[in-house]
Subunit: 647 residues, 2 copies
């Protein structure tokens, strides 16, 4: 259980890290209309802050009403039914992938701003960072809350420090310098050549606002983490949420203000949209993000300050991506338990279930990073739609929740409280709903359609999987006729060479005392078979060796056909096929052995009335591996959820 | 068996296709010293032609002495021992990958020359082409010799036609025009600013020669295909080889001549090395390969001629890549039979063994194409070293071969013939050896080191695999003590739900009449377990149900530990673990089921004294799939080797 001072940083990385890129999005969208449009940036920031307020207020209701950690998915499935819940789940799955892609790409950008040699290698760096996070999470490194607290507090305090120092210099001290980018010329899009007005301008403002709403991503994380708080969980989570919202709004607004003060400029595509003070083409210009530009001006005579800001920002972005690595497998396991995801994702007993989720998350985010060249701006276009789908459906669910409770509640005091809550959630619903519409309209063609397609695919996949499991369950249901005992067991032991594993399989088969027992070999080479028959006779083995001839040197088909023939001759009996296998310990040794045995087993499972018996023979390396496995610490699922605080 | 008129085109695609890129390599290497160096191009072409002559003469000996199709690998292993043979094998494996990468990249370049929209998408096109070839070969499409003959003959005759028409115009007719690139300025490297002389010039000439030797790639293909010829195989193969060599030399020399006549220019890096006639930077300049430039000039007033040349060149490059898709799996299967590659590559019984080879070849060649941006020039640097390693070792083996035969031969006529052969091969050895040294010296730092590292890795991997197999064979060898019968069989049936598969497993286990029989379930949820126990009682099942409690909700460890405990209590007995499995038919359904069963089986195989019995229950889709598999045509390995003519 986490005290608030640890819980805050644990959940803070995701929502706070967005200030690393969301103010930039406002500015560079406006820059399409030229520098004059920058004057709208602080107005847009205020509207974003207002939306943040609405969302935080609403989620304070959520965390108190639903404390199990199911978040919007649980709210939706309890109050709205399976389809809205699955929509939320699809949105969240897509958003986890984008959280990783956006955060890591942004972190790579900050690294490139700080360390020159990193420039131009952002895709590689971002890809490597994702692999690193995936590897850490696959190994089940149990990060403690404290390990998260330190970089997060460093980030919060260094950012607040920079903001205070910068605003202080501006308002009280000697004034702030100008950003390096202040004197560059921004080339406006042709449609804004005649100034910033009309429908195009309004649309661009809406688009800039929609981009700025990236600040809100990650707020919902607390709703999924309520169980990690100390009691009273709901109240503590709500307080943390308020605090977090306040910090996020403060930081975002301050950065927009400072960017305006120092006349910082950022554009989507510096190569084509920026020119030098005299209109010349810029050579090797690297565009630093706003936070970097501000840090550069504020800490002009103090480089360590600049490094502290950019590196702690990169660090918190890495932590934000890491929260997705914790959240995605948990969501996948919840979905798997409900039959909407493959059972292999359900966290039953060990960390392998989580591994599947981690690998898939890493794979998709690397795909996005490579496809979008690790460019934050292009990825952001895909990002926000999912967040607001989840927000909107979650709030709709909450409104339903209160309405449902109000039906049976008679106490007027409680009723009044519930009605207030319902009003807050209804307000949240309207705000997030409007933002969702704005996001859809302004960003659909810029990339949001990709997210929507991805969500639709996820949705269809999940319903398809559920339908499949339901059908299988019906097909498997047992009835009374299912207890007919086979009349006899015909055992055959497959023999390729007469080595230890074969002898063991023969012994085990004999010990099982079947009604009939024979050894079977497939002859692909006359000389090998002759040699085997000779050895067979020499050893005086007590069962016959049947030779199946295979003119086309197939190994599998003759065995399957022979087993089928025996079964057909005796339909009420069962054929037991013994396969000697030797077990090797190292993973690469697996590639060198038993491939045929594996495929044969796969084929035999399709043959009715056959059971397949693997008789293992452990080689030295296999025995060593068995020892290792016995000693290995088998992490229980509850033990690897460090970052959300549950240990 | 192939008549020569079909055998020629079948083997021609690989060696002839190299004229699509090797003359370019000579020119663009020389271009580093500026245009004046182009005057050396035809001298270099003559030396390359001379090397080709030496190689063709030598290989005419090889194909008559070794007719089984083992090629240089067989020659080396028979005459020089395992290590040289493995070196040849490593070189050939690497070269197959490069054949695909180079041919397909070149084909993409020709497509981009012909079809404008393809420009800038060469990597994508090349990657897709590799996947297409892999898919065709995975499906086991049996290309007939005739299907190969048509495009190859189109290529040969259209190229010869272009050459005759072009030279005719030049020497007899009204003269040829100038290439579009003729008036461009080539910027020489700084070291050649003072003219083309000294050590640097000599080194560049050697490098250009080494690059031109790319013309020789593919000649060895016939040595691997001797069995496909009509009798007398050796003689027919030798004749085909001579014919092929003659055509290749003629085409390569003619292209170099025509390129000189029309003053065509090609450089490694057009963006930086080429300027317009007045020194201006070129915008969107697409550099066509020499064959394309020549076709453009020769067929100036006849566009279909240009399209015929470039498209048939692209086609033959595709066919050349396809030969690697046939050769690589065959070589891998030969190596696997000798224990140098995983057994899964050995072609025993069906096409799956070949599939592994095809997938690996496709994977590595796509890797190369992506890593080198589908740029032929950069890939060529890696290519030639492997070819000449194989040539040189092969010829050394042939010299040994004749020396060995001469020892026991007394007939003076035969001896004289053998001595002539030995002289030819010794000559070939010297020439290829010298070229190998030249290639190593001039290309090592340009990329040949990558091939050498890859060859070394392949070599070490193969010896490591062989050592592993040898060790396992020793460990597995049976002795007299290996026939101890287990005293008793303790059977346990794993139960998760009481559905049809479970009932079938219980019935099969009962039919096997073990000494002890119990059902075992792992309890991860109290309510589920209570429900199961209730159903168990209701059904009146004749064996006890043992509940293993799993506080950490693990499924696998409790079962493994319980099985181990039973076995430890009775070390001379055997524990039979029955696992009910339901079998689904579609590949994607596999992901949704049995993952736990699969992992449990994997773990149990490491447990001594345990055998694992899979009791399959076929669901409807599984039964359908079984029917399909029964009907599927199981291709024998001899049936899918279409392209080298054996069917």
């Amino acid at each position: 259980m986490l005290p608030k001072r640890i819980a805050l940083p644990v959940f803070a990385s995701d929502p706070l890290s967005s200030v690393a890129y969301s103010p930039d999005e406002i500015f560079l969208t406006l820059a399409l209309a030229g520098v004059t449009a920058y004057t709208f940036s602080w107005k847009i920031a205020i509207v974003v802050g207002f939306v943040m307020l609405a969302v935080v207020l609403s989620y304070r209701q959520n965390v108190q009403a639903y404390q199990s950690g199911g978040g919007d998915f649980e709210v939706a499935s309890t109050n709205l039914g399976a389809k809205p819940a699955l929509t939320v789940a699809s949105a969240l799955l897509v958003d986890y992938v984008l959280t990783v892609a956006v955060s890591i790409s942004s972190a790579a950008q900050y690294l490139a701003t700080t360390v020159d040699v990193a420039r131009g290698h952002e895709v590689l760096i971002a890809g490597a960072a994702v692999l690193f996070l995936a590897a850490m999470n696959l190994r089940g490194v149990r990060e403690s809350g404290t390990a998260f607290a330190i970089p997060t507090y460093i980030f919060i305090f260094s950012m607040l420090g920079m903001v205070c120092w910068g605003l202080g210099q501006h308002f009280i001290g000697g004034g702030l310098g100008r950003a390096e980018s202040a004197d560059l010329q921004v080339i406006a899009e042709p449609e804004f050549a005649d100034g910033f007005a009309g429908v195009a301008a309004a649309f661009l403002l809406l688009r800039a606002f929609a981009s700025g709403c990236a600040t809100l991503t990650g707020v919902e994380a607390i709703a999924n983490g309520v169980p990690a708080f100390r009691k009273p969980k709901g109240k503590n989570a709500a307080t943390t949420l308020a605090l977090l919202g306040a910090i996020a709004i403060t930081l975002a607004m301050s950065i927009v203000a400072l960017a305006n003060i120092i006349h910082a400029q950022v554009v989507e595509d510096p190569e084509h949209q920026l020119r030098g003070p005299n209109g010349e083409v810029l050579v090797d210009y690297h565009q630093a993000p706003l936070v970097g530009q501000i840090a550069h001006v504020v800490f002009d005579n103090f480089p360590p300050g600049f490094f502290l800001i950019t590196l702690s920002t990169g660090m918190i972005l890495l932590l934000a991506a890491n929260t997705a690595f914790n959240g995605f497998p948990v969501l996948a396991s919840i979905l798997a338990k409900d039959g909407y995801a493959p059972r292999a994702f359900a966290a039953r007993g060990d960390r392998l279930a989580y591994s599947n989720g981690i690998v898939i998350l890493a794979g998709f985010s690397i795909l996005l990073i490579v496809a979008f060249d690790a460019e934050v701006t292009r990825l952001i276009q895909l990002y926000i739609v999912g967040v607001f789908v989840a927000f909107t459906i979650g709030q709709a669910g909450m409104v339903r929740h209160w309405t449902r409770l109000l039906k049976n509640e008679r106490d007027p005091v409680v009723r009044a409280k519930m009605q207030t809550s319902r009003t807050i959630n209804a307000f949240g619903l309207s705000v997030t709903g409007i933002v969702l519409v704005v996001v859809l309209i302004t960003k659909f063609t810029h990339g949001a359609w990709i997210s929507i397609v991805a969500m639709a695919i996820a949705f269809l996949l999940m319903t398809g999987i559920r339908r499949h499991y339901d059908n299988v369950a019906i097909e498997l249901a047992a009835d009374e006729r299912d207890r007919v005992l086979p009349t006899r067991v015909h055992a055959m032991v497959l023999v390729s060479k007469l080595h230890k594993p074969t002898l063991r399989a023969l012994a085990f088969a004999q010990a099982s005392r079947p009604n009939a027992l024979e050894a079977v070999t497939v002859s692909t080479s006359d000389s090998d078979t002759a040699e085997l028959l000779k050895q067979w006779d020499e050893r005086n083995l007590p069962m016959p060796l049947k030779v199946l001839h295979s003119p086309y040197r197939e190994l599998i088909r003759p065995v399957v056909e022979y087993a089928s023939a025996i079964r057909d001759a005796n339909p009420r009996g069962v054929v037991a096929v013994y396969i000697p296998e030797y077990v090797v310990g190292r993973w690469w040794e697996q590639f060198l052995h038993n491939q045929t045995a594996l495929r044969l087993k796969g084929r035999l499972l399709f043959t009715p009335g056959v059971m397949v018996i693997s008789v293992p023979y452990q080689l030295a390396s296999g025995k060593e591996r068995a020892e290792e496995m016995r000693e290995e610490y088998w992490l229980a699922p509850g033990l690897r959820r460090g970052s959300d605080g549950r240990r």
